[in-house]
């Protein structure tokens, strides 16, 4: 038995288009190293040079966020299911608009501060 890993669309260029690949490893870090040996470049998209999970990547073991299970040190067992997803918050539209609003919010806050003086 192995560990099943679900790959998001955006990363399937590394897996030859495969939605699901299999790998082995006692920890998430080991699993990603194993996957990278067959799907070169995949690990670098998920893990920073400093060796932490990329901020905008979420990885789940059996539907639970690995950041609360030890992150790259999270223990894995045969038969586990790992899902990789891009971070999305508050729905796609909220996500899309957020950056624009943050800029606007900063601008109005600055203007209010000027007006208050």
């Amino acid at each position: 038995m192995a560990i099943e890993v679900r790959i998001p669309t955006i990363l399937r260029s590394y897996t030859g288009g495969a939605k699901v690949v299999e790998g082995t490893g006692d920890t998430l870090g080991d699993l990603l190293a194993d996957l990278d040996s067959r799907h070169a470049g995949l690990k670098a998209r998920l893990v920073t040079e400093a060796g932490a999970l990329h901020r905008f990547v979420n990885v789940y073991v059996n539907d639970e966020d690995v950041r609360f299970l030890g992150a790259l040190d999270a223990k894995l067992n045969d038969g586990d299911s790992v899902t990789i997803l891009p971070a999305v918050a508050g729905g796609a539209f909220g996500f899309a608009a957020a950056a624009a609003i943050a800029q606007h919010g900063a601008a109005t806050a600055a203007r209010s501060a000027v007006a208050a003086r």
């Binding site: 998001p8 669309t9 955006i10 990363l11 998209r45 998920l46 990329h54 901020r55 905008f56 990547v57 979420n58 789940y60 539907d63 639970e64 966020d65 950041r67 609360f68 899902t83 997803l85 891009p86 971070a87 999305v88 918050a89 508050g90 729905g91 796609a92 539209f93 909220g94 996500f95 899309a96 608009a97 957020a98 950056a99 624009a100 609003i101 943050a102 800029q103 606007h104 919010g105 601008a107 109005t108 203007r111 209010s112 208050a116």
Partner: protein, 321 residues
């Protein structure tokens, strides 16, 4: 209390109801494991977002950012827009909502009924087009006020000051709090309050895992985490897929008579997971979870009937939470 001076005063104070049929059975002599539902659909516009909308508007009034007759700009088609539309109407503001043109007609009708104006961003352009539209509007109208729920401390504070104390008052033996993760306001505010008051409280997040179409274009180098989010408030975080969310939403109405939207189904799925873990560990648990809204706005998806596979297909590509 059952009498209020106005609808705004009737915000919050929602019932907490036990789920005797959905709570797991424990072996003889083992401590009880109980599920409790916080019925946020009992708020004035029918969702938990009324709390945040009211607090955000009040905070903006107090700081002088929002003055009588001002225009509020809100780029959402969801419950926050509906809540803000009601609050804006009663407090004397104009609300302009920006939303993709492919949202459901219920949403458009509800917002217009509450008096909001709507600017549609072209669906064809996807999220890039939505960003462009939002930028364009904010540049053209620098005097319009954006409350920005993802980074507005009043969003989380609403739950720190109301949802959290209500839960502790009604359920002093609470061991777990489970809620949805969107703007993160509910979990941050309620979670912080409960962590201060209850030793060993578990704060559990349930986030929706949508169909692939939703993530299809998402670039992991340009992701987004709301400014309000502080991972140290959470104990655990679950990702719940469409099928599990639909299954639990149906179970909730079939078994306990609570008719809720699909985000509540996702939350119930996580609540049941921690409840069953407590049973296996032989531990007492009082698991309180949030019913975000009723199911009315989602009936047109058709996902309340038919097979689970059909429901999953009906919701593919939709932001069901």
């Amino acid at each position: 209390m059952a009498r209020y001076d106005s609808l705004l005063d009737a915000c919050g104070g929602t019932p907490l109801v036990g789920l005797p049929r959905l709570s797991p059975t424990v072996p003889d002599g083992a401590p009880p494991v109980r599920l409790w539902a916080k019925l946020e659909d009992r708020n004035p516009t029918g969702s938990i977002k009324d709390r945040a909308a009211l607090f955000m508007v009040r905070a903006a009034e107090e700081s002088g950012r929002l003055r009588p007759g001002d225009t509020i700009l809100e780029p959402t088609s969801g419950n926050t827009g509906i809540s803000l539309a009601m609050v804006a109407k009663l407090r004397g503001y104009r609300l302009v909502c920006v939303m993709p043109e492919n949202v459901s007609t219920e949403r458009v009708q509800l917002l217009r009924m509450y008096g909001a104006e709507i600017i549609f961003s072209p669906a064809a352009g996807g999220s890039n087009q939505a960003v462009a539209t939002a930028k364009l509007i904010s540049a053209e109208h620098p005097d319009w006020v954006m409350l920005y729920q993802y980074g507005n401390e009043a969003n989380a504070r609403a739950h720190y000051e109301t949802t959290g104390p209500e839960l502790l008052h009604d359920l002093p033996t609470i061991t777990h709090f489970v809620a949805g993760l969107g703007t993160t306001g509910t979990l941050m505010g309620t979670g912080r309050y409960l962590r201060e008051k209850v030793d060993g409280i578990q704060v559990v997040a349930a986030e929706p895992r949508y169909g692939e179409l939703v993530y299809g274009l998402r670039n992991i180098d340009e992701g987004y985490v709301p400014e309000l989010y502080d991972a140290t408030v959470l104990s655990r975080r679950f990702s719940v897929g469409t099928r599990d969310a639909v299954l639990r939403t149906r179970q909730l109405v079939e078994v306990e008579g609570i008719f809720a939207g699909f985000s509540t189904g996702a939350i119930l799925h996580a609540a049941l997971a921690v409840a069953h873990e407590a049973v296996r560990a032989g531990q007492r648990a009082d698991v309180a979870f949030v019913v975000c809204d009723g199911g009315w706005k989602y009936l047109s998806t058709g996902a309340y009937g038919g097979t689970l596979a059909d429901a999953e297909e009906a919701l593919e590509g939709q932001l069901w939470a």
